[in-house]
């Protein structure tokens, strides 16, 4: 038996023994675990599952063991995922610590920063959020105006961030701040980590079209930042920030999962939903026009998944994002949005229920998910920005 097969057997046995039965079902969105000091564990098994997985480093399977990770190779990681899917095991924890700041610290952090922050992400002790966009810095992200001033033995931060996802639940925030107002736009930015548990940081949730408040405004009023929380060099934060964006885009597009479904976990496949609401005639969906659109989306989804697998296979080192990231961010969010539009059509007026018992959980969830999905082609760099990046960086088209 090869080493990988041995690993599979070992992982399978361990998961069988350690994954609580109540966590072998699809998670509702409200049940997703993000960790941090404000996390409530309504199901105590969720905490148990998190602690057991964290103990093995399997909450961050590919991070090095010295920082609390699992130290798995890419192949082992994919096997672990397969084995978790096999028993319907929920992901024990997720969030920006894992998908964004962790990988960025592995690339650019000092040894001290890695040792301080990474193990606390792995264990679920600290939850992170992202302080990038500002009211005047959306697609033009490098226009950040939040000021960060050197006060001798610490930095002082003043300004406002917006669309800070999950800020109301987070303990720390990674930010782009302006440290050199006179320098050209991209050259006066620094990347700093800010502890949100201080009087100088205020968070206000924003209600969105979906009725939920996944995003916030975050205000800094003489917030204090210790000097060892500067990542990379002073005024060179744009480089660090761009790398983090690549990790973010990979995460949004599902690139890290190697073609496995993940983004809409717990939702049924679109054709299954369509079969139930529309019905079949001679083995084909009755609505011919909609059938063609659903088949096309299904085929594009399949081709996209194969391309994610190919990117993983081509990238021996295990999924370090490249410029291909923008391709995945663009295409993944567009077909994901289209899929939900098609699901609305398939489910008809039942797909647009807002609240109440006249609609099933699945129907109400779809309404909100559909609305929320519109953010996928705006957040993390809009689809238009992704196409700009592909044109410039991949195709070499002139400015």
């Amino acid at each position: 038996m090869g080493a990988l097969e041995e690993f599979r057997e070992e992982a399978r046995a361990w998961l069988e023994e350690n994954c609580p039965a109540s966590l072998r079902t699809p998670a509702a969105e409200s049940e997703a675990i993000g960790g941090g000091k404000k996390q409530e564990y309504r199901n105590p098994d969720a905490k148990l599952w998190l602690d057991r997985m964290a103990e093995r480093g399997w909450t961050a399977p590919m991070w090095p063991k010295e920082y609390g990770g699992g130290g798995l190779t890419k192949d082992q990681y994919l096997i672990l995922q397969d084995e978790m899917i096999r028993i319907n095991a929920r992901s024990p924890i997720g969030g920006m610590g894992f998908s964004m700041i962790g990988p960025t610290l592995l690339d650019y952090g000092t040894e001290e920063q890695k040792l301080e922050h990474l193990p606390r992400i792995v264990s679920g002790e600290i939850r992170w959020c992202q302080g990038y966009s500002e009211p005047g810095a959306g697609s033009d992200l490098a226009n950040v105006q939040t000021k960060c001033v050197d006060k001798g033995d610490y930095f002082e931060v003043n300004g406002q961030k917006i669309w800070t996802s999950g800020a109301q639940y987070a303990d720390w925030i990674f930010t782009l701040v302006r440290t050199e107002p006179q320098a050209p736009k991209h050259e006066g930015i620094s990347f700093v980590l800010i502890d949100m548990d201080q009087p100088g940081v205020t968070v206000r949730p924003i209600k969105l079209i979906s009725g939920n408040s996944p995003f916030c405004e975050t205000f800094f009023d003489n917030a204090r930042v210790e000097k060892n929380n500067l990542v990379g060099q002073l005024n060179r934060g744009w480089t660090v920030g761009k790398r983090l964006l690549q990790h973010e885009r990979s995460s949004i597009s599902g690139l890290n999962s190697g073609g496995r479904r993940g983004r809409y976990d717990g939702m049924r496949e679109l054709p299954d939903v369509a079969k139930e609401y529309i019905g079949l005639e001679n083995g084909k969906l009755k609505d011919k026009d909609l059938r063609t659109s659903i088949v096309t989306n299904d085929m594009n989804q399949r081709a996209f998944g194969l391309t994610q697998k190919r990117a993983m296979a081509e990238n021996e080192s295990g999924g370090t994002p490249t410029f291909a990231t923008s391709v995945f961010k663009y295409y993944g969010s567009e077909i994901g949005k289209e899929r939900l539009e098609l699901q609305l059509k398939a489910m008809g007026s039942q797909s647009l229920g807002w609240e109440g018992d006249e609609f099933t959980d699945e129907e109400r969830t779809l309404t909100r998910t559909w609305l929320r999905s519109k953010a996928s082609s705006i957040a993390g760099g809009s689809s238009e920005i992704q196409l700009n990046i592909v044109a410039k960086r991949v195709l070499g088209l002139p400015d």
Binding site: K275, K284, N300, V394, G396, P398
Partner: protein, 375 residues
């Protein structure tokens, strides 16, 4: 399932790239067209391809081939697609797969070595209407002595006027549209009762209409039970053609991209305009996805996977759409010069449309993909 080429396949691809760029540039196709060459392909070039082993890449070693698999033939097809190489490679591969999957041991032993040595050109005679309809066959075959007599009309027979033998899809029972009752009959092009008329197509590649009037042939496989083998042969043809179309799409896109970087209007390269940049980036995405489906489909053939049908339809539909998009945008982005015969870009658009209608358009394959998924 590997989505990357191994070392041998990469070497074969590099060799094919060298060969095609040196020996079969688009200027060769242009010359064959302008001279109304009677074969429609260059025989000396074909002989060189045979010497490289290309005619026998998928023919098993026991029958004189290389046994190098469909991934091997696929990378060669892709490179041929880049230069729009005119050759009987695709039609012969489709015909040879009929013998390989439908023929008796005796037929394989006799015919496959001739395919590998390039002596025997084959093709599939299937279509009877302007639309791909594998089971809609009306052309009849009747048992006569030890063989069969074929009567009916076939159209859009690839390389039909140069193939030595035709694999004719004929009906021995039932009605047009039935899966049951189809048979494969191998008929010599020179047999009495066969009349072949070459059709000149927009892509300057070869096709023909063929009329059979009681032409004699021999059965391949079991009488009336050819539907499964036919599906397999067609899927092989679809996937190999998708590989060719992938090469053409990439070449067409790269030529267009180069033009965007060099052509100046309003004092700047036109590739600096966002209206064109975004469309170029979208084409790049479609091509990246196309590469993945072609590789997966070729692997499925080599693994004899049970997903061949759905992957063939996935690949053919996607490449139909991608090649159409890239070739139409290629002409548009070249502007006026793209409309001239002197410029090569138009050749890609013509070939894209003929390829689209070979072995099924996108509507056909989307419908079929949906069927394979049970809806």
């Amino acid at each position: 399932m590997p989505l990357v080429l191994n070392e041998e396949q990469n070497m074969l691809k590099d060799a094919a790239k060298d060969f095609c760029s040196n020996n079969t540039p688009i200027s060769q196709l242009r010359k064959l067209r302008d001279e109304k060459d009677e074969n429609g392909f260059d025989k000396a070039t074909w002989q060189q391809m045979v010497e490289l082993g290309w005619a026998g890449i998928v023919v098993p070693e026991d029958f004189g081939g290389l046994g190098f698999g469909y991934m091997g033939l696929g990378v060669v097809m892709e490179e041929c697609g880049r230069t729009l190489t005119a050759s009987p490679l695709l039609a012969t591969a489709a015909g040879a797969s009929a013998i390989l999957h439908g023929g008796s041991d005796e037929q394989k032993g006799e015919l496959l070595p001739q395919v590998a040595s390039g002596e025997l050109l084959l093709t599939l005679a299937l279509e009877e209407t302007p639309h791909h309809n594998p089971h809609g066959v009306a052309c009849k075959a009747e048992k006569a002595g030890s063989g069969y007599k074929v009567t009916g009309n076939k159209t859009f027979v690839l390389d039909g006027h140069v193939a030595d033998k035709l694999v004719v899809v004929a009906r021995t029972a039932g009605n047009p549209g039935d899966r049951d009752g189809l048979s494969l009959v191998l008929v010599d092009r020179d047999a009495s009762g066969v009349s072949v008329t070459r059709t000149f197509m927009a892509d300057s590649r070869n096709a023909a209409n063929v009329e059979f009037k009681g032409a004699e042939g021999v059965l391949l496989g079991e009488e009336g039970k050819a539907a499964d083998v036919l599906d397999k042969i067609l899927d092989i043809g679809r996937i190999l053609l998708a590989a060719e179309m992938l090469g053409s799409s990439q070449e067409c896109f790269e030529r267009t991209l180069e033009y965007l970087k060099t052509r100046e209007q309003f004092g700047v390269p036109i590739g600096s305009f966002q209206a064109l940049k975004h469309r170029a980036a979208q084409m790049f995405c479609e091509i990246e996805l196309s590469k993945s489906v072609v590789l997966e489909a070729l692997s499925a053939l080599d693994d004899d996977s049970d997903e061949i049908a759905e992957l063939a339809s996935l690949a053919k539909a996607r490449l139909n759409d991608t090649y159409n998009l890239v070739s139409s945008e290629g002409v548009q982005m070249h502007g006026g010069i793209g409309m001239t015969d002197e410029y090569d870009i138009g050749f890609f658009m013509k070939r894209a449309r003929v390829s689209e209608h070979t072995f099924g358009n996108s509507a056909f394959h989307r419908d079929r993909y949906g069927e394979t998924q049970g809806y």
